[in-house]
Structure formats: C-alpha cells, structure tokens
Symmetry: C2
Subunit: 364 residues, 2 copies
C-alpha cells in the first residue's frame, strides 16, 4: 500500500486523525485516573483501531480493554491480556470463540441470564478453560441487564456454581445519563445509577461471592462515576477522538478526528456539495458540523453527498476540501477501512480499522 504523504494527497472521503490532539486526550484521561483508586478500561469499540488502543494502554492507569464484540476481543488479544467483553455473548459459535480466547488472555464477559451463563459454561468446559463473568446489572437504561439487588444476586450465585466460569464482579452502563448536558442532573443521575450497581455488589460480597470488578461509566460520566467509591473501572471510549455530541458537555477533550471531503459542486451561491455523505459519516446523533468554516452548516447528507449551506460570497469551488466533524464517533469510524494519522498536514501513519464490521464475515 502506497501511503499519501500529506493532507492534500489523501483520497476522499477519508477519516483523518489529529495525532497530537488525540495524544493530549489520552494523556488527560490517564492523568485523571492516575490520581484516584479507580482505573480506566478504554472501550475498543469506539475506534476498533490497534494503533490507538496500544497508545491508550501505554499511557497507563488502565486495567485492560473493554470490547463490545468477540471479534473485537480477538483483535485486541494480540497485545492486551485483560479484556472485558461488556456485552452478552450468545450463540455456540461466539461462546466457543471466547473459550478459545481464554487460553491466551484473561477474558471476561457480561451476563444477564441463566441461558447466557449455561451456554458459556458449556463452551468453557468443552475447551477446558475458565471464563470470567461479570453480572450485567440494569442501572436504568432500557437495554440489557438483570434487575439490581436480589435478581443480580441470584444470577451471581448461579455463575459461582457453574464449572468453567469464574465470577469476577458486576457492570452497569449508565448510557441513559452520559449525554445529559446539565452537569448537576448528569451527576445526580449517574450517582443514582451507581447506587444500584454498588448495592448489588455489596449483596454479592455479603453472600460470600467474589466481586473484585465494578465496571461502569463512559466519556460523559468518567469524572463522576470514576470518583464514586467502590467503582473500580470506567469504560470510556469516545474521549480519545471526540464527536459533536460529547463536545456539548463540560469535559476537557479536544476534537481529534474529522471526515475529509472534496467539493464536487457549487450549484448555487449559498450551496456546495461534497463527497462526504452518510456512507462516510453517520448522522445517528444528528448532522455533522463543518470544521473551521464560520457560517457553514450541513443541510442534509445523502449516500454519497453532503449538501452544505455556505455564505453566498464564499470562494468555495469544486476541488476544494472541507472537513466535517461527526456527531457520533463509533459508527462513523466503522464505515472506514483506515484512519489517516496526521501531524499538521503530514501523514504519519495509515492505521487499519482492524475490527471494522463483523470479522465473522471475513473469516468464514
């Protein structure tokens, strides 16, 4: 693969990373966690890129990595020996792959059902390994998770009693809270969510069950949840590159990536159209922002076009380049095969998005 050397050589549309800004984000987060008892477990799903995950771990203050899928854990296991799949793992193919992973890394999965525990235990027994279990507790978001308290305790007892499993603790993602802009409300609701999680952890310990992991949090709550006594690790991911949704919050991270596009058309004085549509930049958290272009805003995205309102006297013309700042990091990166790493206008690396898509589709 021949690499472009400068920003102007990069074929569009493309994702570009401002490496110094990214490094500052990584350092700020590591410093926050160096100062307390809680650790960081960066979420690999945000970027799926080994070059970034390695830098996050190298900065220190980390327990290991969080992953959303088995394929992400497989990719991360090449350089990380402590992985939490913060998601239910269901299906014989998936549990067998987790069991295979357990031979070479300390892997833990989330579970919220007896079905999930028994399926994982069976696969672990067949492979002759032990897989870590964290009980996924619903702390308020209508998604996965067992009810806190007695139900969580009952499931933990079941996990502790199954051969092939090792109960490690609890997790609970306050995803319904992480994007609340008002800090007071975000803090109050995050603390309430953590009470549900910590109550469950306490009940497990009182029952004589292991609970050394209490995992929670995200980029929007890292400095709230990460200072609640008893929470042992925070699963933040988006802080490393940042998007417009998280930029609305009062958190000290910089925008460190954008979608580079080429202007295809200037069909009217107040309009230009670039090649960075929603196949290059998702809109699930709203339209992207136009970077460094006062008075410009995205009107709408089509598959292969961004229609952008610009001041009528703008000199923009076909062939110019415009950067968009995505509203949601994770799914936007998942559209691309590589990230172009930049220092200023120099391309210092072309980083494969190794765990993009569903690796099952590439390997059989």
């Amino acid at each position: 693969m021949t690499h472009p050397r400068t920003l102007s050589d990069i074929p569009t549309p493309a994702l570009i990373v401002d490496v110094p800004a990214m490094e500052r984000n990584i350092r700020r987060m590591a410093e926050f966690f160096a100062a307390g008892a809680c650790r960081l477990r960066p979420h690999f799903k945000a970027h799926k890129t080994l070059e970034i995950a390695r830098r996050q771990l190298a900065a220190g203050s980390c327990t290991g990595l969080t992953c959303a899928t088995v394929a992400e854990a497989e990719a991360a296991s090449d350089f990380c020996d402590d992985i939490l799949i913060a998601n239910q793992v269901i299906g014989p193919d998936k549990t067998a792959r987790v069991a295979a992973l357990a031979k070479r890394t300390d892997v833990k999965i989330a579970a919220d059902s007896v079905y999930g525990l028994e399926e994982m235990a069976a696969a672990a027994q067949r492979a002759g390994v032990t897989v870590g279990i964290v009980i996924d507790v619903n702390v308020g978001m209508p998604r996965c998770g067992v009810a806190p308290g007695e139900e969580a305790l009952a499931l933990a007892r079941r996990a502790a009693g199954l051969s092939g499993l090792r109960l490690r603790g609890v997790m609970g993602y306050e995803g319904h809270v992480v994007a609340i802009e008002d800090r007071g409300e975000r803090e109050a609701r995050a603390r309430k969510a953590m009470e549900r999680l910590l109550t469950s952890a306490q009940m497990m310990r009182e029952a004589g069950l292991a609970c050394d992991i209490v995992s929670a949090g995200g980029t929007g709550t890292y400095d709230i949840t990460g200072r609640v006594e008893g929470v042992t690790e925070v699963q933040a991911g988006s802080y490393v590159l940042m998007d417009t949704a998280y930029a609305k919050l009062d958190i000290p991270f910089e925008k460190a990536f954008s979608v580079l596009g080429t202007v295809l058309s200037r069909p009217a004085p107040g309009l230009c159209v670039t090649d960075s549509g929603h196949k290059a930049c998702t809109q699930d958290h709203g339209n992207p922002a136009v970077k460094d272009a006062p008075g410009a805003s995205v009107l709408f995205l089509s598959d292969e076009h961004a229609s952008i309102a610009i001041p009528p006297d703008s000199p923009v013309r076909p062939g110019d380049r415009i950067q968009l700042w995505p509203s949601h990091t994770d799914p936007t990166i998942n559209l691309h095969d590589v990230l172009y790493a930049l220092e200023g206008e120099t391309v210092v690396g072309v980083w494969p998005v190794t765990a993009r898509g569903y690796a099952e589709q590439r390997h059989g």
Copy 2:
C-alpha cells in the same frame, strides 16, 4: 472461507438475501422495460455486489450499469462495458482513474461545472483516451446539477469543445420526488422534473450537440419516468432488494433482504435485545421493521443492540433469532462485507460486497 450451510449456521449480525424474491424483482423490472423504448441502467451503489449486478444485466432490457463512485465503476468494469458514473468526478486521482477505465470500457461521468469538465479533459488527454460526458441538470433537488435550459446548454457546448471528452447527453435525478407516497403527486412532480431535463436535451440538439442519453429516475418513479417520451434510461437500484421506505409505495417489488440477529437478552416481559444494532442496520430512513413478528417493533438501535418491544407473553428468549427489515437498502449493505444468499433456509452463496466502503483506502 468455510460457508455456513443453513440459516441457523450464519454468524450474526448478518445480511441475508431471499434469492427467489430477488430474482422475481429483477424479472419484474426487466419485463417492464422490455415493453417500452426506455431501458434500465441498474444502480450498482444500492448493493455494491457483483453477483447481483450480473443477474440484473443478464435479465435484459439494460443499457449497462449506473455507479456512484469511481471505485464502484472499477469493480463493475470486470463484467460491464457500459458504465455511467452518475456523479461529479473531482480530484486528480479520481479523474486519472476514470481515464484508465476508459481504456477498457465505455465510461461516462456526470458534470455540472467547467472545473469538472476541464479536469476530466486534462486527465483524458494525458491518458490518450476519450471519456463520455452527461450534463448533470438540476431537476428540483437541492444537490448537484446545473440549472436547466441556457446554463445546461452552455456547459454542454463547453464539453463538446474539449479534447478528450465526448458529449453524450444529460441526466437529472428527481430524488426529491421518488419517495412521495401519493401516486398522483409523485407522478405530477416527476413529470415536471422530466420537462426540465427534456427541455435541456432539446436545446442541445437544436444547437447541433449530441444528446443520445437522457438518464433519470429511481425505484419510486421507474414506471413514471420510464414512460416519459424522450427519457432513454432509468437509474433504479433499490427495487432489487427493497426496504421499508420504498415498500410504502405502490410498486410491485418484494422485500428480499433482512438483517439476521440473535437475541442476547430478555430483560423484561415486554422487551428483548438483539445484536443487530446500527452498526449492522442503518436508521437514516427510520427504525427497521421486525419481520414476521406481529406486535413487535424496534424501540431504538444502539451501536451493537436493537431494543425491541414484544408482547409480554412472547416466548422469545436468548439464543432465538430475529430478522429486521431495513429502512434504507444502500447504507445498510455498505456496513457488511458479505451477503448470505438463501433459498429457503439453505445458504446457496456468500456474496462479497465487493465495492463496500472506499476502495481507495484498501489499495493505497
């Protein structure tokens, strides 16, 4: 690559294609165009999959393929010798690649600016080839396209005067019309859009300029635009697999693909959660529908989860499989590396989504 043999072996999330339904869609569309003077130019961007494009061309009544990107045209050129890139091609890397393509296939690009014409002409001259040009006329959608009438004529004159280019005609996509549910309104507005296009074509011919291609239309207007006298080809794409947005219209195509997911969790009586989130199924045209499950509906999609409301007495449990019917074909397919082709529950093929993403990122 070892292929799964039956539906139940397919790792999830995954896109599955009902091949007999797809074949019926292809046949119905080919029969419509066999009956008139207008031809079909199926849009490759909808699926980016060679196995499907080959079947569309083999069914007859086609001029060739429509593509949205140079990379799609490169992939399609292996088996198709008549390609229209229905989009502006801007940038020295892209125009050089089109010029290279012109050595082995009859390739045409859309143009709506002098800049675009001159850049393409320069690349064609360097390569010693001739590239076809269709003037992209704005027929009412606020995206690319030169104004109809005098402006279109002036640009056509410019194209005709540039060495390395061969003026072939006009195109105009009535994208603002294709999704209008009321047939009367859709028909009236499509006809009005086509008047703009045909007026421009007529002015070109009266000026002694070539205009043998008049390209327009989509799945929502194929039987309106495709019967307007003077339109020579229709660029429909979604008809082949269909999505919930187009299914609202009175058009005779069947749903022929879906997102297969596994139930991860049944956290409450009225709720289940599958592994088919918006990294597997886009929501830019709204939430997907739940296939063959009366009373079930998607509440929201997260990156890796679909939270689905179900009847409280539903027997659904972890490990079960649920199919979602996407709201938008093109970007959903673009998330996946392969399509699993099914006849009944038998996997008859695993089709690479060859032109997924941006091939520039894979080739340098």
